[in-house]
């Protein structure tokens, strides 16, 4: 991105002449308006203390919005369980060979929450090593999953996204697409230490969108990725299948400050069970019937 020093306002204001594009252009300028409604301390350059930039958010959400509404047609239930402000931790399952699940969770709380909230994912370490991925993830507030980052962001009342399965979760093959692998306990230690409510969620459909039949680990490591997923049609391009996100009720764990590992593992298991339930029963147990994404 070589022209990032210019400072046009977020979101293109002028709708293109082509009538087919007018609808999209209108939505993109609506994205700009939503970005301005994010309750983050932006300065006059549109930058928050972490380097999150309004202009780049508008660009990203314009793109994500098309994927969210038209390509995947994401259906969301229980978005009201996510608090309107204040710290919280979204914890759910990985679904799909790479981060479309994370991207769609971020999109869901931007497009279907009022006022919109910026979800800040705890990202795998390899992302920040790659050119462009490093630059974009930094400007969009998606930081490396370090305890220091999580603690500071939660202290600032931000909304965190954690996939406790880690890279093992995205590496699930098609037959295992709706299973859960081991949850790390780091998120729970942080939630206990910072008294942060956990919003469990289940993510469905990523395995159908990216039907992984094998993961190339050696090739991936050669280019700086953990692995490269291979689909029956070779390239890991996601297919336009519907995705579903079910948010569950917040879970709050009281801490004494020095829980034993067994106790923490028990709490982790309770979160994992809730994610399991959300995957099996969808939003049925959460809140009302699933509603279709607006189109």
């Amino acid at each position: 991105m070589s022209n990032s020093s210019d400072s046009k306002p977020a979101g293109p204001e002028n709708s293109r002449r082509n009538p087919h594009r007018v609808k999209y252009a209108r939505e993109i300028s609506a994205v700009g308006a939503r970005v301005r409604r994010l309750e983050l301390p932006f300065n006059r350059h549109g930058i928050d203390p972490y380097g999150v930039r309004q202009r780049d958010l508008a660009r990203m959400f314009s793109l994500f919005g098309l994927a969210y509404r038209y390509y995947f047609r994401v259906a969301v239930t229980g978005v009201d369980h996510v608090p309107a402000r204040g710290r919280a931790m979204l914890v759910g399952n990985h679904s799909g060979g790479y981060a479309i699940d994370g991207a769609m969770v971020v999109a869901s709380l931007f497009f279907d929450k009022d006022p919109p909230r910026l979800v800040q994912g705890m990202v795998d370490k390899f992302v920040n090593r790659l050119p462009f991925a490093s630059q974009w993830s930094s400007r969009l507030g998606q930081f490396t999953g370090l305890p220091e980052h999580a603690e500071r962001l939660l202290g600032d009342g931000r909304l965190l996204l954690v996939f406790p399965e880690g890279a093992r979760g995205t590496a699930k093959l098609y037959p295992q697409r709706n299973t859960l692998v081991e949850f790390g306990a780091g998120f729970m230690r942080l939630a206990l230490a910072t008294r942060t409510p956990i919003i469990p969620f289940g993510f469905l459909g990523g395995g159908e969108a990216i039907p992984t039949i094998a993961n190339l680990y050696k090739v991936g490591q050669f280019v700086g990725l953990p692995y490269i997923p291979i689909t029956p049609y070779i390239l890991p391009v996601p297919r336009p299948t519907p995705l579903r996100i079910h948010y569950g009720e917040p879970m709050v764990f009281e801490s004494t400050g020095n829980e034993d590992d067994d106790v923490v593992d028990g709490y982790v298991q309770r979160v994992k069970d809730r994610v399991r339930t959300l995957l099996d029963h969808g939003g049925a147990r959460a809140s009302g019937p699933p509603r279709e994404a607006k189109s």
């Binding site: 990032s4 020093s5 220091e148």
Partner: protein
């Protein structure tokens, strides 16, 4: 208070001296370099802090406070010379200070102590270990000087020592590691990376140091100015053009084509941010910078294009 400032002829040193004089302190200074046009109230000694004569300055002036700014940060000074100045100089300052009953010593270090890397956190806190030793070995002597100064906290318990880790200074002098990097009309960056840069106006840095002398308790404190800015925006604010180069090309073109000559390992500091959390310092001293990110950049923009070459050791090279 009688205050002795080492490295007084540097851009920040001069401002610290003026700030202290204005606050009614009695100021003396030591520097190998001269300072033409120094305020008459300042007692200047043109000498090396490591020499015996420095001892005499301490004995005669009897400072109550010492601000130690005499560290070489430009990476071009031959490195064993640099190492000696930064470590033996710091040792001499603490030894003299303890011998002549100095109450407060302020060691001014750099925020680059923490180092930059893909897995380093944003907003370093004072208790974090120095990653710079691994990511940028040329900075090892500054890291060592910082840690050595920290040892004064237990070696001289009667003396109140504060170690400040100040972010990049920028301002009207046009001097300093960041200024050298930003000097040319085109500033090279690494394609695909746009780290946050944290910088403070020289006057604010001086004010923070002066404030630390009277306000900060013993300990280690990060000092920062306004909110950090992405490098791309900083380059635009100082009126330069960004030249994003793929990393191999970036490494190969340093010091050529009129681009700044960065040490090889400085690349990590152009790809990844070094940002410090300064809440501790602000809370203890009530410090708040007077210049925001735009005013600071504008002050540097108005700086002379080629600051007095004799004063910049090593010319155009820089030690991010």
């Amino acid at each position: 208070m009688r205050v002795l400032v080492t490295g007084i002829a540097g851009a920040v040193g001069r401002r610290v001296a003026r700030e202290l004089v204005a606050a009614g302190h009695e100021v003396a200074g030591i520097d190998r370099r001269g300072w033409i046009g120094a305020p008459p109230e300042v007692e200047l000694h043109e000498l090396d802090i490591r020499k015996r004569t420095a001892d005499t300055v301490f004995r005669r002036f009897r400072p109550e406070g010492v601000v130690h700014l005499a560290t070489v940060t430009h990476v071009t000074a031959p490195s064993d010379d640099r190492y000696r100045i930064n470590l033996y100089g710091t040792r001499a300052v603490f030894d003299h200070s303890s011998r002549y009953g100095v109450r407060r010593v302020i060691f001014v270090g750099r925020h680059t102590y923490y180092g930059a890397g893909p897995d380093a956190p944003l907003y370093h806190r004072e208790d974090e270990p120095p990653l710079a030793v691994a990511t940028f070995p040329e900075l090892a002597d500054l890291v060592a000087a910082d840690l050595y100064a920290g040892s004064a906290l237990w070696r001289f318990p009667g003396m109140e020592t504060a170690i400040l880790r100040i972010c990049y200074t920028l301002g009207p002098s046009g001097l300093g590691p960041l200024a050298s990097y930003l000097r040319g009309p085109r500033v090279p960056s690494v394609l695909g990376y746009d780290p946050l840069f944290q910088y403070i106006h020289e006057d604010d840095a001086a004010a923070a140091i002066a404030l630390a002398l009277t306000g900060a308790p013993r300990g280690v404190f990060n000092v920062a100015g306004p909110r950090p800015m992405p490098l791309s925006l900083l380059i635009a604010l100082v009126g330069r053009r960004r030249l994003p180069l793929p990393e191999p090309l970036f490494r190969a073109s340093l010091g050529r084509f009129g681009l700044p000559a960065l040490p090889r390992d400085a690349v990590a500091h152009i790809k990844y941010p070094v940002v410090v959390a300064d809440e501790q310092f602000r809370r203890h001293t009530g410090f708040s910078p007077r210049y925001d990110e735009d005013e600071t950049a504008a002050a540097f923009r108005a700086a002379p294009e080629r600051p007095d070459a004799g004063r910049v050791r090593g010319g155009g090279r820089t030690g991010l």
